[in-house]
């Protein structure tokens, strides 16, 4: 099952927790200096170490399938679009995804549903073990893990939590939150990481600092901040609803109406309406917007991924689609998934 279709801890505010470890191998050039032969050698040798993982050669993959992996947050956008030899080793059951020949030789990523950073960290460490055992991992006692980009030196770990923050966004609190987090060595990014826009009021909160702080401290510092943000977001949601319950319910019900009755819907419009419907599904006890019980946070988050262009194209058979075709297909998919109507 895909991570977004599972149930999880504090999903009303946290969609997923992710830990990524970057590892380089002694004796192999990095980035552009790595030859195609060396890249293939790394990909093949990784296969010997990673028993039980499925291998996908991204340089042989069609661009739509590759982009769909990025839309599902399983690989980085750079990895999906690169042309050089590279492979993904994946274990969907464990939520482990190991990119070979991304910016660093190995990017080991573990993704879990909801708020469970420690679990994601434990899983990433477990997934790393066979790599560390099969390869001489580049490490220095003073600088830690040696990475292609010096900004990642140290633990070379990025722990991130994907958060849904509609109430704080609408209150205009994100810029000040971002400043406060920056002082704690944390950063706020958009839904698709570095350089991406914050759509759907979804943000990724992650550690910025990697040197001079241990992995455990990084996780604990991030969780301390995330606990605080969850608390603030929940309070802010209840505050907004209690001030004007009719307007809040009306906005959510209208958004739900659009998602379940439109015959054509763009990705942008879908994501705008998605915010209110997800908010209503998170506040069932306090807000009556008439959204059926069958519309769960899991079904909503699944629709969020399925409505992205590449995933939607794949779900429609993978053939060429115009934006108009996708808008029609998206509306049909939403009616089926959220409205209980037949998916025709």
């Amino acid at each position: 099952m895909s991570w977004y279709a599972e149930t999880g801890n504090k999903c009303d505010v946290v969609l997923s927790s992710r830990v990524r470890l970057a590892r380089s191998i002694e004796g192999f050039p990095m980035g552009e200096r790595l030859s195609d032969e060396q890249a293939r050698e790394l990909c093949d040798r990784a296969g010997d170490a990673l028993r039980g993982f499925d291998r996908i050669d991204f340089d042989k993959l069609d661009p739509v399938t590759a982009a769909a992996y990025a839309e599902e947050h399983l690989v980085s956008a750079e990895f999906a679009s690169s042309k050089s030899p590279r492979a993904l080793y994946k274990s969907d059951a464990e939520g482990d995804y190991i990119m070979v020949c991304e910016e660093d030789h190995f990017r080991i990523q573990s993704i879990t549903r909801g708020y469970s950073v420690s679990d994601a960290y434990e899983r990433a460490k477990r997934a790393e073990a066979p790599i560390a055992s099969a390869f001489p991992v580049a490490f220095d006692n003073d600088l830690g893990y040696l990475t292609h980009c010096p900004t990642n030196l140290g633990t070379a770990m990025r722990a991130s939590v994907m958060m849904f923050l509609p109430a704080l966004t609408r209150r205009g609190s994100i810029p000040s939150l971002s400043r406060q987090l920056s002082r704690l060595g944390l950063t706020v990014r958009g839904m698709y990481g570095e350089g991406s826009e914050a759509v759907c009021c979804i943000y990724q909160i992650s550690n910025q600092v990697t040197l001079g702080i241990s992995e455990e401290e990084t996780v604990s510092k991030l969780c301390e901040a995330v606990d605080f943000i969850i608390d603030q977001e929940r309070k802010c949601r209840l505050d907004t609803v209690s001030r004007d319950p009719e307007s809040a319910a009306d906005a959510c019900a209208r958004a739900y109406g659009t998602l379940t009755h439109a015959r054509m819907i763009s990705c942008r419009e879908f994501m705008e309406k998605f915010v209110d419907v997800r908010l209503a599904a998170s506040l069932r006890g306090s807000l009556d917007a008439g959204i059926p019980e069958s519309v769960t946070l899991e079904s909503l988050d699944t629709s969020l991924i399925e409505c992205q262009p590449a995933v939607l194209t794949l779900l429609s058979g993978g053939g060429e689609m115009t934006p108009r075709d996708r808008d029609i297909r998206r509306a049909s998919l939403l009616r089926g998934r959220l409205g209980g109507a037949s998916d025709n």
């Binding site: 980035g31 460490k125 990697t210 001079g212």
Partner: protein, 173 residues
């Protein structure tokens, strides 16, 4: 061209600084550059790694760029593993391989300090490889057998000593 700071010596270094997007340039002699704290070791001084135009220059504000451009000659050091030079690393803002961190340790140190602060690594060390583990296991086994051998000889248990010696030979081969 004379040094724009002292006006006496021949300028051997062009120094450029970008502050809030505004670039100022100066031609300096070696003495004035050193007085301003601009190293020229191997042709590249502090800050050169993330020189003007790289991603990091925007993040870290003022990035000084110092390199000999007026008549100073030098042979560029290259990484023995990937062949990268410091100027190539500076241009990309990324190293060519892990060995670059050792080859250009002193040149990279100021930039690493600027990014991360004056801190040392704290955290997990990499797990040993299978080959390293086997080697370690073998070493420990041999040490233990040699200890047993000494004890057997001390006790004049030569039969046992011969047995241990054969075991040591077997493992050592």
């Amino acid at each position: 061209m004379l040094c724009e700071k002292c006006g006496k010596n021949e300028a051997t270094i062009r120094y450029s600084e970008i502050v809030n997007g505004k670039k100022t340039e100066m031609a300096l002699c070696g003495e004035c550059a050193a007085a301003m704290g601009l190293g020229t070791d191997g042709g590249f001084g502090l800050g050169d790694l993330f020189g003007a135009g790289t991603l990091f220059s925007n993040i870290f504000g003022a990035i000084p760029d110092a390199r000999p451009q007026y008549g100073a000659s030098h042979i560029e050091k290259r990484c023995p593993v990937c062949g990268a030079s410091m100027s190539e690393i500076a241009k990309r803002g990324k190293v060519g391989c892990a060995e670059c961190y050792r080859t250009f340790k002193s040149e990279l140190a100021p930039s690493i300090r600027r990014i991360h602060g004056d801190v040392k690594y704290v955290g997990d060390a990499p797990a040993k490889s299978e080959a390293e583990n086997q080697l370690l296991e073998k070493k420990q086994k041999l040490e233990s057998l040699r200890r047993e051998l000494r004890e057997a000889i001390e006790k004049e248990d030569f039969e046992r000593a011969a047995e241990i010696r054969d075991n040591i030979r077997k493992i050592d081969s």
